[in-house]
Point group: C2
């Protein structure tokens, strides 16, 4: 990206990779993922569509750069204290910011991203687990389910009209044949309720942390 020496060559139109990423982010905010087209980004910048291809090889490259940039902008809580509440606060903060920017989750499904911006969260989480008494390798193993659960939960959250989705699901569950689905139909309201809301995330997070804590104590003991 840098052009050799120290100074940066400014393009005729004042374009930079960063300004293009910024425009893409604005398009995303206004038109959503389906509306994020190369033509729309170029239009917002007032340049020809093909101009973008001088800065990014293709749309995938632009999307990768966008994920990295937006991930790096997320606020990481740097709390102190015991490892478990610290890890809990970290995952809650990550989750709530993923909920606000659902496209980040959708984009990450495309491939694992090992860019610095996207990995700061992981590093902080690993540090907490290491201070709990795990080796770096053990911490890596233990952090993966937290990551998967947090992103997974966010990715199954309804994007729009969550209360409508919950109501529709509730109705659909009640329509199931009770002889084939005895438990599901008798807990239809609670089942539908888990589809949205923060509470269901916290419940699973706490169960996962219970399991990890037990594992930490076993490792320490052995």
């Amino acid at each position: 990206m840098a052009t050799g020496g120290g100074t940066r060559t400014r393009s005729r139109l004042g374009l930079t990779p960063e300004s293009i990423i910024e425009a893409a982010d604005q398009v995303l905010a206004e038109a959503g993922l389906p509306g994020l087209t190369m033509r729309a980004v170029a239009d917002r910048l007032g340049v020809g569509t093909m101009t973008l291809y001088g800065y990014f090889r293709d749309k995938d490259q632009l999307l990768d750069a966008l994920i990295d940039a937006k991930s790096a902008q997320l606020d990481i809580p740097r709390s102190s204290g015991p490892w478990r509440p610290r890890l809990r606060a970290l995952m809650l903060a990550l989750h709530s910011q993923l909920v606000e920017r659902p496209f980040l989750v959708a984009l990450r499904h495309r491939r694992p991203l090992a860019s610095p911006g996207a990995l700061r969260w992981t590093e902080i989480g690993l540090e907490a687990l290491q201070e709990a008494g795990l080796t770096p390798a053990e911490a890596a193993r233990a952090f993966r389910p937290l990551f998967v659960y947090t992103f997974g939960h966010a990715s199954f959250l309804p994007l729009e009209r969550p209360e409508q989705v919950v109501r529709d699901a509730h109705a659909a569950l009640l329509r199931l044949p009770p002889d084939e689905f005895p438990v599901l139909t008798s807990a239809a309201a609670e089942m539908a309720g888990t589809l949205a809301g923060q509470e269901s995330f916290e419940y699973g997070l706490d169960r996962l942390l219970d399991g990890i804590e037990a594992q930490v104590e076993r490792t320490r003991g052995g």
Copy 2:
């Protein structure tokens, strides 16, 4: 779908919703999700593209029907015995079949699906949790994280060339600045290793089951 009485009106071309879903599944197997277009499905059936719109209102409807049909075809292990190994076997079987049919995960991200075919797994899981001593409502709460973790893990698995993805991630992690990423760089191999493979799924599943079991015992005790 059924036309009034008992007999079914066969179309001029012998088309049924089921035969269209079958064709869509074959296209999916051969060309993947990006190749699954209305034109491709119609071509495979030897009919005009627009003919499909007589059976499904739009592409989304066809996709929903496809998810439901394929979900219903998954093999559910109906083991007996204590609830925990039974639940563990259920999630392992679901996970391994999701890994074989990754598009099922991708399609489910679009919206929550409350069709019978997709909910049989949930019902079996809930029954195990109920036998463990939870009420239907408590079982619903406890099952959600298992569902989220299992689908989430499968959805972050690299679709192709997993060993290549792991190697690339390993190299990328080693390129991070060690002063900013001390734990990550010192556990680069283990971290990259968690991106693929069955083992990382089982580790997290067991931690989650540990947490749920503790919760079950607490509920029983109270």
